[in-house]
Symmetry: C2
Subunit: 215 residues, 2 copies
Amino acid sequence: MAGTDISKQAMMRMPYYLRYLRDAEASGASSVSSTAIGEALRLNSVQVRKDLAAVCSSKGKPGSGFNVRELISGIEELLGYNSRVDAVLVGAGSLGTALLSYKGFSEYGMNIVAAFDSSASVCGRVIGGREVLDASSLEDFCRNNSVHIGIITVPADVAQDVCSELIRGGVKAIWNFAPVKLKVPDGILIQNENLAASLAVLSRHLKNMSNAANG
Amino acid sequence: MAGTDISKQAMMRMPYYLRYLRDAEASGASSVSSTAIGEALRLNSVQVRKDLAAVCSSKGKPGSGFNVRELISGIEELLGYNSRVDAVLVGAGSLGTALLSYKGFSEYGMNIVAAFDSSASVCGRVIGGREVLDASSLEDFCRNNSVHIGIITVPADVAQDVCSELIRGGVKAIWNFAPVKLKVPDGILIQNENLAASLAVLSRHLKNMSNAANG
């Protein structure tokens, strides 16, 4: 099956290819070369060719290039943008509220069907069009609604408990925004998103530059 | 100077160490071993020792371990949590609004001082306590206010223009949420945050699992 053996790194490049290809199609191009894509995205053209061959049955013929429409369809299918995946979000604090209010996820095929929080003062509130439910019903909700993605935006010290509960409820993939490493059984995917770590890298760069200027 | 030669990967582990150490201090521990930290965070203890030695002058003596308070201070200083860095955010759409509404950044020492948008219908609106300013004043604003971090949440096709403008205004580090590779001069740091790519990895995992179950 196309795409089955695609690496995580290649998967993470796919949204960049898709963006480029949609732009190319909008400006009237029907075929593109891996060299042109590589130059635009600053990637090695051999890598581009290998990545795209995995989603496009016609491969990229030297001289003629890849068919733009076929590539777009292949990548959209690979990324699941045409299907819909249901997710729950746990932790309706500041970050959770921001993610619930973000309207961009549906574009990527992800639908946050419910939010959960353990605080009585938050439960019952409506954020981004979804009522916040009591965290005690999390496991049952996931099982009864066949939810397979859990988004964790709770404080670090309770993230592992939430994670275990999601998995007991049948969740197969966790998007973790809590700054803690989670332990999961084999077969469960954890995708960590660490905004604090990114900020650390940014502010470190500024400090190094200012040290260099002053020293 | 302590920490000057710390790798980006080590920097990204620091928030995890800090979280662990704050928890340890809260529960009364005054010293910790690199082995204990490594087990809790599922990292190699040799790597932990090396990372922490860079922020702690007393090193970790075999048997006695690292001093918790000293490590916390060292990491907080390294990460800039005690100082304040000003940032601007460009693109007050759905994601920009979510980030402006998020109250957690100040905890990490980052202060978003202003937001910008090119759309007349958004300019003048107040989001997360900040008025959205006209994007035409972006470069001058950064220069006049010595802003060194720019957060890009505009659509991909205008992200490069915004990036160049930020750099002309004196910005040294870019936090890029647009799904596009940006070109910058030497010395400017780009930290990419690609939520679409993370979602791609998550939904791919689900598809592979369902293929395995059906096949």
